[in-house]
Protein backbone atom coordinates (compact mmCIF):
# COMPACT_ATOMS: atom_id res chain seq x y z
CA UNK A 1 0.00 0.00 0.00
CA UNK A 2 1.47 3.39 -0.99
CA UNK A 3 0.10 5.04 2.16
CA UNK A 4 2.10 2.56 4.25
CA UNK A 5 5.22 3.59 2.34
CA UNK A 6 4.47 7.22 3.06
CA UNK A 7 3.93 6.52 6.76
CA UNK A 8 7.17 4.50 6.85
CA UNK A 9 9.05 7.44 5.28
CA UNK A 10 7.49 9.76 7.83
CA UNK A 11 8.56 7.52 10.70
CA UNK A 12 12.09 7.44 9.30
CA UNK A 13 12.11 11.21 9.12
CA UNK A 14 10.78 11.50 12.68
CA UNK A 15 13.48 9.12 13.92
CA UNK A 16 16.22 11.17 12.27
CA UNK A 17 14.69 14.33 13.67
CA UNK A 18 14.49 12.89 17.18
CA UNK A 19 18.02 11.51 17.18
CA UNK A 20 19.69 14.76 16.23
CA UNK A 21 18.91 18.42 16.45
CA UNK A 22 20.46 18.99 13.02
CA UNK A 23 17.16 18.78 11.16
CA UNK A 24 15.44 21.39 13.33
CA UNK A 25 18.55 23.55 13.24
CA UNK A 26 18.59 23.47 9.45
CA UNK A 27 14.95 24.54 9.23
CA UNK A 28 15.60 27.39 11.68
CA UNK A 29 18.63 28.52 9.66
CA UNK A 30 16.63 28.61 6.44
CA UNK A 31 13.78 30.40 8.15
CA UNK A 32 16.24 32.92 9.55
CA UNK A 33 17.58 33.56 6.05
CA UNK A 34 14.12 34.42 4.76
CA UNK A 35 13.28 36.66 7.74
CA UNK A 36 16.52 38.67 7.77
CA UNK A 37 15.72 40.94 4.80
CA UNK A 38 12.56 42.07 6.59
CA UNK A 39 13.50 42.04 10.28
CA UNK A 40 17.26 42.42 10.23
CA UNK A 41 19.69 40.24 12.14
CA UNK A 42 18.53 41.15 15.64
CA UNK A 43 14.83 41.02 14.91
CA UNK A 44 15.21 37.61 13.28
CA UNK A 45 17.13 36.23 16.26
CA UNK A 46 14.50 37.59 18.59
CA UNK A 47 11.70 35.79 16.76
CA UNK A 48 13.65 32.55 16.65
CA UNK A 49 14.53 32.76 20.34
CA UNK A 50 10.87 33.29 21.18
CA UNK A 51 10.05 30.16 19.20
CA UNK A 52 13.07 28.22 20.46
CA UNK A 53 11.08 25.59 22.31
CA UNK A 54 8.09 25.46 20.04
CA UNK A 55 8.90 24.02 16.63
CA UNK A 56 5.29 22.97 16.34
CA UNK A 57 4.32 26.61 15.73
CA UNK A 58 7.45 27.85 14.02
CA UNK A 59 6.15 28.15 10.45
CA UNK A 60 2.78 29.66 11.32
CA UNK A 61 4.48 32.31 13.48
CA UNK A 62 6.99 33.16 10.78
CA UNK A 63 4.32 33.24 8.09
CA UNK A 64 2.23 35.63 10.21
CA UNK A 65 5.16 38.00 10.60
CA UNK A 66 6.06 37.86 6.92
CA UNK A 67 2.46 38.50 5.93
CA UNK A 68 2.68 41.95 7.50
CA UNK A 69 5.53 42.85 5.17
CA UNK A 70 4.79 41.10 1.91
CA UNK A 71 1.17 39.90 2.01
CA UNK A 72 -0.34 36.44 2.28
CA UNK A 73 0.71 34.86 -1.01
CA UNK A 74 4.28 36.07 -0.94
CA UNK A 75 4.62 35.00 2.71
CA UNK A 76 3.46 31.49 1.80
CA UNK A 77 5.92 31.39 -1.09
CA UNK A 78 8.83 32.56 1.04
CA UNK A 79 8.15 29.94 3.73
CA UNK A 80 7.79 27.25 1.05
CA UNK A 81 11.13 28.25 -0.42
CA UNK A 82 12.78 28.11 2.99
CA UNK A 83 11.38 24.62 3.53
CA UNK A 84 12.50 23.58 0.04
CA UNK A 85 16.06 24.58 0.93
CA UNK A 86 15.92 22.90 4.33
CA UNK A 87 14.59 19.65 2.92
CA UNK A 88 16.99 19.55 -0.01
CA UNK A 89 19.97 20.13 2.28
CA UNK A 90 18.92 17.58 4.89
Amino acid sequence: MPIDLILANIRRWEKTRASSAAQDQLVREQIAECLKPFLGEQGTQRVLVLQANDNARLLSTVENILRTFVGQKAAEAVVSRAMDSAIIRS
Partner: protein, 191 residues
Protein backbone atom coordinates in the same frame (compact mmCIF):
# COMPACT_ATOMS: atom_id res chain seq x y z
CA UNK B 1 2.37 15.97 21.72
CA UNK B 2 1.55 12.33 20.98
CA UNK B 3 -2.08 13.24 20.51
CA UNK B 4 -1.11 16.00 18.08
CA UNK B 5 1.03 13.58 16.10
CA UNK B 6 -1.80 11.07 15.93
CA UNK B 7 -4.16 13.78 14.70
CA UNK B 8 -1.68 14.76 12.03
CA UNK B 9 -1.39 11.20 10.81
CA UNK B 10 -5.17 10.83 10.67
CA UNK B 11 -5.38 14.09 8.73
CA UNK B 12 -2.74 12.84 6.30
CA UNK B 13 -4.43 9.50 5.71
CA UNK B 14 -7.78 11.22 5.05
CA UNK B 15 -6.14 13.59 2.56
CA UNK B 16 -4.36 10.71 0.92
CA UNK B 17 -7.58 8.79 0.43
CA UNK B 18 -9.33 11.85 -0.95
CA UNK B 19 -6.67 13.22 -3.27
CA UNK B 20 -3.94 10.68 -4.03
CA UNK B 21 -5.73 9.09 -7.03
CA UNK B 22 -6.32 12.48 -8.67
CA UNK B 23 -2.80 13.64 -7.89
CA UNK B 24 -1.35 10.47 -9.38
CA UNK B 25 -3.38 10.96 -12.56
CA UNK B 26 -2.26 14.59 -12.80
CA UNK B 27 1.39 13.71 -12.21
CA UNK B 28 1.10 10.88 -14.73
CA UNK B 29 -0.33 13.26 -17.28
CA UNK B 30 2.59 15.64 -16.79
CA UNK B 31 5.34 13.05 -16.79
CA UNK B 32 3.96 10.06 -18.71
CA UNK B 33 5.68 7.92 -16.12
CA UNK B 34 3.74 5.95 -13.51
CA UNK B 35 6.80 5.39 -11.28
CA UNK B 36 7.78 9.04 -11.27
CA UNK B 37 4.17 10.06 -10.65
CA UNK B 38 3.85 7.69 -7.68
CA UNK B 39 7.17 8.84 -6.17
CA UNK B 40 6.20 12.48 -6.58
CA UNK B 41 2.85 11.94 -4.88
CA UNK B 42 4.53 10.13 -1.97
CA UNK B 43 7.09 12.90 -1.56
CA UNK B 44 4.33 15.48 -1.58
CA UNK B 45 2.48 13.77 1.28
CA UNK B 46 5.67 13.40 3.30
CA UNK B 47 6.32 17.07 2.70
CA UNK B 48 2.81 17.88 3.91
CA UNK B 49 3.46 16.02 7.14
CA UNK B 50 6.87 17.67 7.64
CA UNK B 51 5.51 21.19 7.16
CA UNK B 52 2.51 20.56 9.38
CA UNK B 53 4.90 19.20 12.04
CA UNK B 54 6.64 22.56 12.02
CA UNK B 55 3.32 24.30 12.45
CA UNK B 56 2.47 25.28 8.91
CA UNK B 57 -1.19 26.18 8.62
CA UNK B 58 -2.57 24.93 5.33
CA UNK B 59 -6.02 26.34 4.72
CA UNK B 60 -6.68 24.66 1.38
CA UNK B 61 -4.94 21.29 1.49
CA UNK B 62 -6.03 20.11 -1.97
CA UNK B 63 -4.65 23.17 -3.75
CA UNK B 64 -1.51 23.04 -1.63
CA UNK B 65 -0.90 19.35 -2.42
CA UNK B 66 -1.29 19.85 -6.17
CA UNK B 67 0.90 22.95 -6.04
CA UNK B 68 3.73 21.18 -4.20
CA UNK B 69 3.38 18.17 -6.47
CA UNK B 70 3.68 20.36 -9.54
CA UNK B 71 6.71 22.16 -8.15
CA UNK B 72 8.33 18.85 -7.28
CA UNK B 73 7.82 17.58 -10.82
CA UNK B 74 8.96 20.76 -12.55
CA UNK B 75 12.02 21.06 -10.31
CA UNK B 76 12.94 17.45 -10.91
CA UNK B 77 12.61 17.53 -14.68
CA UNK B 78 13.37 20.07 -17.32
CA UNK B 79 10.19 21.53 -18.72
CA UNK B 80 11.29 20.38 -22.18
CA UNK B 81 10.74 16.80 -21.11
CA UNK B 82 7.05 17.47 -20.52
CA UNK B 83 5.57 16.44 -23.80
CA UNK B 84 2.10 16.35 -25.20
CA UNK B 85 2.41 12.76 -26.28
CA UNK B 86 -0.38 10.37 -25.40
CA UNK B 87 0.89 6.83 -24.95
CA UNK B 88 -0.97 4.48 -27.25
CA UNK B 89 -1.06 1.63 -24.75
CA UNK B 90 -3.49 3.68 -22.62
CA UNK B 91 -6.30 3.21 -25.05
CA UNK B 92 -7.15 -0.34 -24.14
CA UNK B 93 -7.51 0.62 -20.48
CA UNK B 94 -10.00 3.40 -21.01
CA UNK B 95 -12.06 2.38 -23.95
CA UNK B 96 -15.40 0.75 -23.75
CA UNK B 97 -14.56 -2.96 -24.03
CA UNK B 98 -17.45 -3.34 -26.46
CA UNK B 99 -15.92 -1.17 -29.18
CA UNK B 100 -14.06 -2.63 -32.10
CA UNK B 101 -10.47 -2.06 -33.18
CA UNK B 102 -11.57 0.41 -35.88
CA UNK B 103 -13.27 2.69 -33.35
CA UNK B 104 -10.30 2.35 -31.05
CA UNK B 105 -8.03 3.53 -33.85
CA UNK B 106 -10.37 6.44 -34.55
CA UNK B 107 -10.37 7.44 -30.90
CA UNK B 108 -6.59 7.30 -30.82
CA UNK B 109 -6.36 9.46 -33.91
CA UNK B 110 -8.87 11.90 -32.49
CA UNK B 111 -6.96 12.08 -29.20
CA UNK B 112 -3.83 12.79 -31.23
CA UNK B 113 -5.58 15.71 -32.97
CA UNK B 114 -6.87 17.06 -29.66
CA UNK B 115 -3.45 16.78 -28.07
CA UNK B 116 -1.80 18.56 -30.95
CA UNK B 117 -4.31 21.40 -30.82
CA UNK B 118 -4.04 22.01 -27.06
CA UNK B 119 -1.11 23.86 -25.57
CA UNK B 120 0.68 22.22 -22.66
CA UNK B 121 -0.81 24.74 -20.25
CA UNK B 122 -4.33 24.30 -21.63
CA UNK B 123 -3.98 20.58 -21.25
CA UNK B 124 -2.71 21.01 -17.69
CA UNK B 125 -5.64 23.29 -16.85
CA UNK B 126 -8.04 20.68 -18.20
CA UNK B 127 -6.30 17.95 -16.20
CA UNK B 128 -6.69 19.92 -12.98
CA UNK B 129 -10.29 20.84 -13.76
CA UNK B 130 -11.01 17.19 -14.48
CA UNK B 131 -9.70 16.41 -10.98
CA UNK B 132 -12.32 18.76 -9.56
CA UNK B 133 -10.12 21.75 -8.70
CA UNK B 134 -11.82 25.14 -8.70
CA UNK B 135 -10.60 27.96 -10.93
CA UNK B 136 -9.03 29.57 -7.88
CA UNK B 137 -7.20 26.37 -6.94
CA UNK B 138 -5.96 25.88 -10.51
CA UNK B 139 -4.73 29.47 -10.52
CA UNK B 140 -2.81 28.87 -7.30
CA UNK B 141 -1.35 25.57 -8.49
CA UNK B 142 -0.18 26.98 -11.81
CA UNK B 143 0.73 30.45 -10.57
CA UNK B 144 -1.79 32.20 -12.82
CA UNK B 145 -4.62 34.66 -12.36
CA UNK B 146 -8.11 33.20 -12.06
CA UNK B 147 -9.20 35.07 -15.20
CA UNK B 148 -6.36 33.50 -17.16
CA UNK B 149 -7.48 30.05 -16.04
CA UNK B 150 -11.02 30.80 -17.21
CA UNK B 151 -9.75 32.02 -20.57
CA UNK B 152 -7.49 28.99 -21.03
CA UNK B 153 -10.27 26.56 -20.18
CA UNK B 154 -12.67 28.30 -22.54
CA UNK B 155 -10.08 28.14 -25.32
CA UNK B 156 -9.41 24.47 -24.64
CA UNK B 157 -13.13 23.61 -24.71
CA UNK B 158 -13.50 25.54 -27.95
CA UNK B 159 -10.64 23.58 -29.49
CA UNK B 160 -12.19 20.28 -28.46
CA UNK B 161 -15.56 21.34 -29.92
CA UNK B 162 -13.91 22.45 -33.17
CA UNK B 163 -11.92 19.23 -33.45
CA UNK B 164 -15.11 17.23 -32.88
CA UNK B 165 -17.05 19.19 -35.51
CA UNK B 166 -14.31 18.90 -38.11
CA UNK B 167 -13.83 15.17 -37.76
CA UNK B 168 -16.14 12.53 -39.12
CA UNK B 169 -16.16 10.66 -35.82
CA UNK B 170 -19.23 10.05 -33.72
CA UNK B 171 -19.92 11.69 -30.37
CA UNK B 172 -19.02 8.43 -28.67
CA UNK B 173 -15.64 8.44 -30.38
CA UNK B 174 -15.01 12.01 -29.30
CA UNK B 175 -15.92 11.09 -25.74
CA UNK B 176 -13.62 8.07 -25.99
CA UNK B 177 -10.82 10.29 -27.28
CA UNK B 178 -11.25 12.67 -24.35
CA UNK B 179 -11.18 9.73 -21.91
CA UNK B 180 -8.05 8.57 -23.68
CA UNK B 181 -6.47 11.99 -23.16
CA UNK B 182 -7.15 12.07 -19.46
CA UNK B 183 -6.27 8.51 -18.62
CA UNK B 184 -3.62 8.37 -15.94
CA UNK B 185 -2.23 4.87 -16.61
CA UNK B 186 1.13 5.96 -17.91
CA UNK B 187 4.20 3.90 -18.45
CA UNK B 188 7.68 5.33 -18.19
CA UNK B 189 9.29 6.12 -21.52
CA UNK B 190 12.55 4.29 -22.00
CA UNK B 191 15.25 6.92 -21.77
Amino acid sequence: MLEQRKQLETELVALYEAHAPGMTRYAGSLTHCADLARDAVQETFVRYFVERSYGRLIEHPRGWLFQVLRRYLFDGKSSASFTREVPEENLREVSDPGIGPENMAQQAEMAGHLTASLSIRERECLDLRAEGLSYLEIAEVMGLKTGTVGAMLARAHQKIRTAAEQSSTTEADVAGAVRYLFNGGHTCPST
